[in-house]
Each structure stands twice: as C-alpha cells, then as structure tokens.
Symmetry: C2
Subunit: 220 residues, 2 copies
DNA sequence: CGTAGTAAAAATGGATCCATTCTGGCGGGA
DNA sequence: TCCCGCCAGAATGGATCCATTTTTACTACG
C-alpha cells in the first residue's frame, strides 16, 4: 500500500467506506458486478477485507452476494421500487414521529441551513447528497438504531433512481421538493406530529408516483 | 472435517444455518458473545467461513459485529422492542396487502392447516415456530424481496422476547392469539384488504402492549 | 451457419499462519 | 483499601497460498 495508514482503522472499513461512496455516487452502477481482486488491488489490500466489506454493505442494502457468483449492486424494476417507496412512506413517518420530541434547536437550525444550501445549489450530485442529509438529520432524534438502519437501507436502495430521475426532470422536481421541504420544516419547528406525518408521507408518495412514471429511469 | 460433505454447499452457509437455528431457538441468548474459533472448531471448519456467516447473519438482524470486539446477538430493552413492534405493524400490514392478491387456495389451505396445528400444540418452542411460519406464509405472495427481508429481520429481532413472554403468560396468550389468527384467516380467505389490515395491525399492537408490560422479560 | 461440448482462464471459497488488539488478572503505589 | 498501570493469554483482523467453481472462448459437429 504505502499511502494510507493501516493503523487505527480496520482495512475492511476503509474498503467499505470506499465502496459505499462509489456505489452511492453512481460510480458503480446497479446490476454491475464487483470483482474482489480488482477492488483489493485498487485499494492496496488483500481480498479478505474486501469480502468483509462486501458483506457489511450487504447489510446496508448496497450489495448482494451469491455463493460462487460474486457481488453485485442490486437493481430494481419499477414494481420493486414502488414497494420500496411504500416502505419509506410507512417507516420514515414513524421515524420522524419518534425523532420529533428529541430534536433540539441546534438540529432545527442545521435543517434550515441544509435547506438553504439545497435551494442554492444547481448541481445534481450536491442536491442528492444534501437532500439525503436533510431527511436523515430529521430522523436523528429517533431513539431506535434498528429503525434508523432501516431508513438508511431504504435510502441506499433508492439513491441511484433518485439521481436518474433528477437528471431527467431536474428543474421541475427542484421546485416541488423545495416547497415540500419548507412545509415539512415548519411542521418540524412547530413540533406538529400530524402535519409532519401528512407532509412527509405526501412528499414521499408524490415522489414515488412521479418516479415510477418514468420508464427511462429503469434502462439498465 | 470428515463428517459433512463440503460438496454442493458452501461452508459459510452451513455455519450460518447452524448459528441461525441456535440463535432463533434461544440456545444462544441475546447479549452473549459468539467466539469465532469456538464455532469453527465445533463445526469442523476454519474461522473464515464463521466470520462470513456472522456477517450474513448481521444482514438478517441476528448478530452484531464490532471491529476487534467480536460478534454478539443483539439485545433490546423495552423501548427498543416497542419501536420494533411499531415497525412490524406498519411493514407487515403492507406485506399482507401486497401478498393478498397473489395467495392461492393452496396457500390458504396450508394456513388453515398451520393454525390447526398451532391450536393443537402445547409446546412453546413448537408454538413459536408455527406462529412464525403462519405469518411469514401469509406474506409469501408479496412480490418484493426487500419487503420480505425486512419482515424476516423484524421477526428475528423479536423471536427471543416472544419466547420469554410465552414462557410467562402462555395459557392466556394462547387463546388470544388463536382467536386473532382465526379472524385474520377468514379475512384472508375473503381477500378483504380492510379487515386484513385491521386484524393484523390490532394483533401486532396488542402483542406489543402486553409484551412491553412485562419487565421480567427483559432481565438479561 | 448455428449450437453444443469442452478446455483453459479467471474469479471465488477456504485453510493456515502471522500481526494487532482486546481482556483480565496481578502487583505497586497513593 | 482502592485505583491505576502493566503484563500475559486469548481472540480478532489480515495476508498468502491452494482447491473448487464459474465463466468464456474455441473447436467440432450437426
């Protein structure tokens, strides 16, 4: 290796972090195969921590491993993505409800700051990242690690299709998302459970409907 | 090794199957540490497929791995289990709704047969196993693998606490569960989405409330 | 010309060995 | 007496090497 320090951090976690970034950024596309020794050589590690990392990412919904057939990034068709969004609707509204009482004013301020940055950017990659940060931050008060892990898995699974969608209908989508975020933000600031649930489930439902209506997104 | 055939099946999957059974049956209790070489020696394999298996089970919610600290079976307190049951309420009603249109009469017959066996048994371990089979079978028509995996994870996480609960309040719980199962079964046979959702969410909610009300279950 | 069979190449799974990190018990000092 | 630090044993993480499976490309046959 010679560049990064093996001290202090587990090699498998470094590999996992690298692959996680590569998959979420779209560098590695859904359906494509991930060759262990290719990654190992690329990161200056042996194949073993790579296998370990691929298993870690499997628990996060970012890879799928089959015996003797290697690892792939899972790909979804319209029907499958539709279900994932219905899961998001139910899981994330629960997460927000449980998070709401524990959100501090610091969290609130950070949410507003994130939304300002979302409205300021014109870059799709930045938008996707900030949008993800925005929602996940709103769940940060949630006292259940299991629930947060589920939410993260769902976001991981949808990441690629959100990007494909934004690349098509960016300008229109931008405005809708921002309007819905503002409504949600104010409901959060008011600690209004009912409005939070209403706005969030509506936000996810409308995204789902629009997303599934674009066949060109699913050209794999 | 010398006893089991390494042919045809991956060693890591054999190890995973063994550990899965051991954890779900309560042989390995939540919170307890799982030593890699102990399992490896016990099953006549090296430590590598054991690590692999532990990672697989992590994706199923049956183990938790920490760097340099080994693997543990996750344990939950009352608040955490409460959240898991709220997730079950939302996720499983969705799974049943999506499964319902694809259930065949053969599935129905098998569900009735399972319920008959549930009512016939007096053994807690058998009851837990059949109850799990009953519910998971009702979701088998669900077209989404992600959703089924989520449901399975939730059942894995609750398994130990269901058992602890049944060991305490068995006779009372038995009758309630059976009554609720019969209502659910008939709703499934009628393909009645509304009643299915109502009976299932009620079933899970009442189980949650009773379960969380028993502090002795959480003595770890 | 297309397809099935086969063999070489590549990729994955597993075992053994070594390095690093955690754990637990002991002793010394405040 | 209690607490902190240190040392030995044990457990985990990683690297290299070998076996098995998959894949792919080539050849031969229909």
């Amino acid at each position: 290796m010679g560049d990064t320090a093996p001290r202090g951090e587990a090699a498998s976690e470094r590999v996992a972090a690298h692959l996680r970034q590569a998959i979420l950024s779209g560098e590695i596309r859904p359906g494509s195969r991930i060759r262990q020794e290719e990654i190992a050589e690329q990161l200056g590690a042996s194949r073993l921590p790579v296998r370990e990392a691929l298993r870690m990412l499997e628990a996060e919904g970012l890879t799928q491993l089959e015996v003797n057939k290697g690892a792939r990034v899972p790909a979804f068709d319209r029907a499958q993505l539709d279900v994932i969004y219905e899961m998001r609707e139910r899981i994330e509204t629960l997460a927000l409800r449980l998070s709401l009482p524990h959100l501090t004013s610091a969290h609130e301020a950070e949410l507003y700051r994130l939304q300002d940055r979302i409205e300021a950017t014109t870059d799709v990659a930045t938008f996707l990242d900030l949008d993800r940060q925005f929602h996940l931050l709103s769940y940060v008060g949630c006292p259940s690690g299991e629930l947060l892990a589920s939410v993260t898995r769902l976001w991981n699974s949808t990441q690629h299709y959100r990007r494909a969608f934004m690349l098509h209908k960016a300008e229109e989508r931008w405005m809708i998302v921002n309007a819905e975020h503002r409504l949600l933000l104010d409901a959060i600031a008011r600690r209004d459970e009912v409005d939070c649930e209403r706005f969030l489930s509506g936000h996810i439902r409308r995204t789902r409907i629009q997303l599934v209506d674009h066949p060109e997104i699913f050209d794999d």
